[in-house]
């Protein structure tokens, strides 16, 4: 059973409705004209909204103090990813203290659901979700982020340093 509200006799008169609508628009326009600072809308794209640092936006791969990538290619993020949008290719590093590192790390952001499970799964603080949220691009292939984009894009200013440092841990005897 569905309840359908039938229009009553007064509502069939359209003129009061139009006049009310016009008056409402005029009222808001006049209010905004004299209280421009209180206006809730932004002049996008000249003005942009800044979200808090805990916002789960675009992924960031953190770096070590020397600027190399922090990720150890353990693939826990790829295993935990419900959208299966992370593809990692691991390789043997020449540096014995690194041993394993990703030669390719790709995130298909159009498949990503921004759940943050990768961040939670990561044992070494190698992947984080940052406050950036603008992902517009002109070409379909631009939505697959590689290491260059994830770790060293210009917005990150040389990379975000991971809180977990292997050398410090090693020296502390952990």
């Amino acid at each position: 059973m569905s309840l359908v509200k039938r229009p009553n006799a007064t509502a069939e008169w359209f003129l009061p409705g139009i006049i009310f609508g016009l008056w409402f628009t005029l009222k808001k326009m006049l209010w905004n004209l004299f209280n421009q600072k209180k206006m809730p809308t932004l002049n996008y794209p000249e003005e942009k909204y800044e979200y808090g640092p805990r916002f789960k936006g675009n992924h960031v791969l953190t770096v070590k103090k020397d600027g190399s990538i922090r990720c150890t290619a353990c693939m826990l993020c790829a295993t935990n990813c419900p959208a299966q949008c992370i593809k990692i290719t691991a390789a043997e590093s020449n540096d014995p203290s690194v041993e394993k590192y990703p030669i390719a790390y790709e995130i298909d952001v159009l498949r990503c659901v921004y759940c943050g499970f990768c961040e939670e799964a990561c044992p070494v603080d190698a992947i984080r979700m940052g406050p950036e949220w603008q992902t517009a691009a002109l070409n379909g292939s631009k939505f697959t982020y590689d290491i260059q984009q994830l770790a060293y894009r210009p917005q990150l200013k040389g990379g975000i340093v991971s809180v977990l440092d292997e050398k410090e841990r090693h020296q502390a005897g952990i």
Partner: protein, 523 residues
């Protein structure tokens, strides 16, 4: 046959067996590292502690013999606590680098900790740092920090491969596994040490960092590397096969397999495979559907037999197919074509009887015995003698044989003279070559050639007869090239019949690609 009671369950075991064997026989779980059914007892890990009624202290199950009427348990709080703190001692110097460690997912320490440990570590001291990423030889990498010194690998090289490359050096918590005086670990059984290593200390260079083990599924199969026919399990995922590990079979291979056999996953993977039927010759290849290629080849064979008689066709078989397939292809050849021109192509006749004393045999075909038997059954008179090859050679040279049908080698690496033999067979007017992989020499064919893709051992069910005459059957594990045919299906299509296309398996997903690159357009 003494009877013992294990955790309240009565078990009867052979006299002289140890308590841990009784545990395995009764199907109950017991924590252990150093004990391995294929090796001697070391008793160094002290984790298989059990309580025996009437004994004041706990005993290790691996080195205590079963006596009549023993009442054993490993579930009392005392045993549980001992095992827990035993595990804590093992983990004192074990680094927490599971994310990098290749063993994660199939690690003895991870499993045993979750099953028997689950304690809060009470060790405040810093971990002892040892060497990492030590190159032990051409196949194995050692990480001595992860090693828990169970000595399984040392005992393996001592007792099974008898090469004695490995040893334990230094004392106390500075003990490390290493090679004796820089002698590298390069025997043909070295990768078994990786299999028996309960932690990630020994890793295989071939498999290291290629895949995480939790992405892999396992299927049981028979190794096609040589005529021993080791029982193996194959690890695979959507992208193909990644490694081969031995499966226990006391009558054939025990717990082990050779390193050469472990390479027999490589020719199965997509890169090495023939994906469609090919008809033509050099510079004029035409890709056709597999079924069409087989049908047209069959038509060609039958026409040739009608025109020039049954002796104008020849069948060449290699020992790398199953007994069932041999029966079918020989039935087609001797029944439908009524030809007895069947040849057994043996890759290295001079090495057939070689044996390295453990597992690896010189006859690098899994089913030579089966092929010989099938040829005898079908009445096709031919044996693996060089004289027979000369007959074929002279027949080819005199153009008596017009069409040669070849079931080529699946594992091309085992045929050292493959290219010369292909050139010899190309003397025929038409060559119908059925095989799993592609071959560069074949692609340069000067005469008319059919290439028909066949399935490999992991994609079909069947049986191999090993050197002992033992028939070992196996099931299909996975499918890499769904359009490829088995030799039986090829025989059906060659003889003009059809096969049930609805029953054919689907292929794997193939390598994971991010969808956007290929499919998405431009805005």
């Amino acid at each position: 046959m003494p009877k013992v009671k294990i955790n309240g369950k009565e078990v009867e075991v052979a006299a002289g067996s140890t308590i841990i064997q009784a545990f395995k026989a009764s199907g109950q779980e017991i924590c252990h590292y150093c004990w391995h059914p294929g090796l001697s007892v070391a008793g160094v890990c002290r984790l298989c502690m059990v309580q025996i009624e009437g004994m004041p202290k706990l005993q290790i199950a691996c080195n205590t013999e079963v006596k009549e009427g023993m009442v054993i348990n490993n579930t009392s709080p005392m045993v549980k606590e001992t095992v827990q703190w035993g595990l804590d001692f093992h983990l004192i110097n074990h680094p927490l680098d599971c994310p990098i460690c290749d063993q994660a997912g199939e690690c003895g320490l991870q499993d045993q900790y979750m099953q028997f440990g689950k304690y809060d570590p009470q060790m405040a001291e810093a971990k002892v740092k040892k060497h990492k990423v030590i190159d032990l030889g051409p196949t194995v990498v050692l990480d001595s920090e992860r090693c828990i010194l169970c000595s399984r690998c040392v005992r393996f090289t001592d007792e099974v491969s008898k090469t004695n490359e490995l040893g334990i050096f230094n004392r106390g918590d500075r003990s490390e596994i290493g090679c004796v005086e820089g002698k590298p670990l390069n025997n043909n059984y070295s990768l078994n040490t990786v299999d028996i290593c309960p932690v990630g200390a020994l890793t295989s260079k071939d498999f290291r960092f290629r895949q995480r083990v939790w992405y892999l599924k396992e299927a049981d199969s028979i190794c096609p590397g040589c005529s021993t026919g080791c029982n193996v399990k194959v690890s695979y995922n959507e992208e193909g096969l990644w490694r081969i590990k031995p499966r226990e079979n006391k009558e054939v291979n025990g717990h082990w397999m050779c390193d050469t056999g472990r390479d027999s996953y490589k020719f199965v993977n997509l890169k090495a495979r023939l994906l469609a039927g090919k008809i033509g010759k050099r510079d004029s290849w035409q890709d056709v559907a597999v079924a069409d290629a087989a049908r047209s080849a069959g038509l060609k064979l039958r026409e040739t037999v009608e025109k020039h008689g049954a002796d104008s066709v020849a069948l060449v078989l290699t020992g790398q197919y199953t007994n069932e397939e041999y029966a079918d292809i020989l039935k087609f050849f001797t029944g439908t074509l009524k030809s007895k021109n069947v040849y057994h192509w043996l890759n290295n006749p001079e090495k057939v009887n070689e044996f390295d004393g453990l597992l690896f045999r010189g006859d690098r075909n899994p089913n030579t015995k089966g092929l010989e038997a099938a040829m005898k059954n079908s009445g096709a008179a031919a044996g693996p003698t060089s004289g027979k090859w000369e007959t074929l050679q002279s027949q080819l040279a005199s153009k008596k044989v017009k069409v040669v049908l070849v079931a080529g080698p699946e594992n091309q690496a085992t045929f050292p003279d493959l290219n010369e033999k292909i050139k010899m067979l190309q003397q025929a007017e038409t060559l119908v070559w059925m095989t799993a992989g592609h071959n560069a020499t074949l692609d340069q064919a000067g005469s008319e050639t059919w290439q028909i893709p066949l399935k490999t051992y992991i994609e079909k069910a069947g049986s191999f007869t090993n050197f002992q005459g033992k028939v070992q059957s196996f099931k299909a594990g996975t499918t890499i090239v769904p359009q490829a045919l088995t030799l039986s299906e090829a025989a059906m299509l060659l003889s003009g019949h059809d096969i049930d296309w609805n029953l054919r398996p689907k292929g794997l997903g193939g390598p994971k690609t991010n969808y956007s690159i290929t499919q998405r357009g431009t805005l």
